[in-house]
């Protein structure tokens, strides 16, 4: 247990010592999206009755930032340690694959939540966002971040170079988050794109998260929960089996 706690503390300190870059910067980015989109889209039809565009946008932006940063935390920590060689310090001790997985994923969830809180802290100055059910908000926030953290561990283990992580982020994570209904309700999309969005797991995370605020969603919140939890469990199983096999770490 002390091994796990130590690794968790180290992973949290790793991003916290550079919080300006790892927490403040994504909050600023989200704020810019919010200001620009809210201004441009001010006259657009509301996604849900009684909810204006700014209110609709804030939870989606918060979730998008949380997901991207949870992924960035595990993937960049691992690739940095692998390239600089200091991954050795955690390969020599008697840490188990569960210790490794738990500490990396939990630290990334903490960073994701810190970024999410930051976005809300800024968002409340722009629009009032109601809270329908705090439990759903927390469940989707934690599960979404944990899923992305596990995906980040997989990417970090697989990649041998920084540009491979960047490619993963730019060609997979970014398109999936942007096309998940952060900026719009998928009901406003043409039929084909609407159906395609249902294959995007990120859509369910954002839709479920938004349900926690408005009590309204594009699909059933239970379906969103099932998809998010299922994706999290599948990716965790893959992560743990890679860690147990020593994939690219102990060869």
């Amino acid at each position: 247990m002390i091994g796990f706690q130590t690794l968790l503390k180290k992973e949290v300190l790793r991003f916290w010592k550079v919080a300006f870059q790892t927490v403040a910067a994504p909050v600023l980015t989200a704020m810019l999206y919010l200001l620009i989109f809210a201004h441009v889209m001010a006259n657009s039809t509301a996604a849900f009755p009684g909810i204006n565009y700014e209110q609709f946008l804030i939870p989606g932006l918060a979730m998008m930032s949380m997901l991207q940063n949870a992924f960035a935390n595990t993937s960049s920590s691992l690739i940095q340690s692998k390239i600089t060689g200091n991954i050795l310090f955690i390969l020599l001790p008697p840490l188990t694959p569960w210790n490794f997985y738990g500490a990396y994923v939990l630290a990334a969830v903490i960073r994701g939540l810190a970024v999410g809180l930051g976005v809300f802290a800024v968002g409340i100055f722009i629009a009032h966002v109601p809270t329908h059910n705090i439990v759903w908000i927390l469940v989707f926030a934690v599960l979404g971040c944990a899923m992305m953290a596990a995906l980040g561990v997989i990417a970090g283990l697989w990649a041998d170079r920084f540009d491979q992580i960047a490619a993963f982020q730019n060609f997979i994570i970014m398109p999936l988050t942007f096309l998940s209904g952060v900026f719009y309700s998928i009901h406003s999309l043409p039929d084909f794109w609407q159906r395609l969005s249902h294959f995007n797991p990120f859509f369910y995370m954002i839709d479920g998260f938004r349900y926690g605020f408005f009590g309204k969603s594009d699909v059933s919140v239970w379906l969103s929960l099932a998809v998010t939890a299922g994706a999290f469990l599948c990716l965790s199983a893959v992560t743990l089996s890679l860690l147990k096999s020593g994939y690219k770490l102990r060869q």
Binding site: G3, T6, K10, K17, T84, L88, F89, P93, L95
Partner: protein, 323 residues
């Protein structure tokens, strides 16, 4: 009795390259053991497998009786590794680095740990650097931190993989003083180095590797006496008198500038040889007695390669041990 390190028939291939072609060796508890060999002999591969950083294709390895795969947690707790490459975590200070490393090994932050860290810092002359970020340290200082990191969980078995490569005299002396002290307290030391005089001075037993095999393994004393000798070398004003030619084992240089070398077993023979030279009417201009050197043993064994007679089979067990 439990061996500190017990390696049996370990094989490792990388594609078509054979890094280890069936290595067996046993290191007793409390030994100071050297693993020598040219680059690419397989020393670091063997250490990596022992540390669990690499997996063997065949064979078994135990540290203090714990299998490095089946019982990896106990095996890793028993092992402290100082890696060859200088690596560090740029986010943390020296003290934080050591606290984290202890934590990874399951050691709680107690006053006992803090005082052990202080002691390690003092022994390795790092006290004034304790709160400096790792990035601010010179290469030699970073290497000291790596040594401290390997020792922070007080492992009974310590492996040093070329710890003095490119290191200044001061660190070498500090390091060897400390490692000797740990050895005297009962820690087992496994050392790889290209500085053969270090191995000769420090280690009681030596294994030599070449192309993934052990080509010689014996006590330092036996290796020296079997492959090297103590010699008397003299320079004379003129040629060596013919009466002494039969005793000379080699000549280096020509005419008056030649060194004439004679084998001697003990120092009494120096006196006898010198008197015979004098009696033959020769005048000595220069003289030296050279002790057996591991470098000579190493070169001879590496040149013989795999044909060293039964070196592996005969001495796989420490002397006096009946397997």
């Amino acid at each position: 009795m439990t061996y500190a390190i017990d390696v049996q028939n370990v094989e490792k291939k990388y594609g078509s390259f054979t890094a280890l072609a069936g290595i067996s060796l046993r290191v007793e508890q409390g030994e100071f053991f050297a693993l020598l060999g040219p680059n690419g002999a397989g020393k670091t591969t063997l250490i990596s497998i022992l540390a669990g950083l690499t997996r063997a294709d065949a064979g078994t390895l135990q540290v203090m009786g714990h299998d490095v795969v089946a019982d990896y947690q106990a095996a890793r707790r028993a092992l402290g590794i100082v890696p060859q490459e200088i690596v560090f975590d740029p986010f943390f200070s020296v003290r934080e680095t050591l606290q984290f490393q202890a934590g990874y090994f399951g050691i709680a932050r107690t006053p006992a740990l803090d005082s052990w860290i202080d002691e390690l810092l003092a022994k390795l002359s790092l006290t004034d650097k304790a709160d400096k970020n790792m990035r601010q340290l010179s290469g030699g200082m970073k290497r000291r931190v790596l040594v401290a990191q390997a020792l922070v969980h007080r492992p009974p078995v310590i492996v040093l993989d070329e710890p003095t490569a490119g290191v200044d005299v001061e660190l070498r002396q500090t390091l060897w003083g400390f490692i000797r002290e740990l050895n005297a307290k009962g820690h087992t030391i496994l050392l790889t180095t290209h500085y053969l005089e270090e191995a000769q001075q420090l280690c009681s037993r030596i294994a030599m590797m070449k192309l993934g095999r052990i080509v010689a393994m014996d006590t330092t004393e036996h290796l020296l006496s079997a492959f090297s000798e103590r010699v008397l070398r003299v320079k004379l004003v003129a040629e060596l008198p013919t009466s002494l030619l039969a005793l000379r084992i080699r000549q280096e240089g020509i005419n008056e500038n030649s060194w004439h070398t004679f084998s001697i077993h003990d120092y009494n023979e120096v006196e006898i040889l010198l008197s015979r030279i004098r009696e033959a009417g020769a005048t000595i201009t220069n003289l030296e007695v050279t002790e057996p050197e591991l470098e000579e043993v190493f070169v001879k064994i590496m040149n013989q390669g795999d044909s060293v007679p039964n070196a592996t089979e005969q001495s796989i067990y420490p002397r006096g041990i009946n397997p």
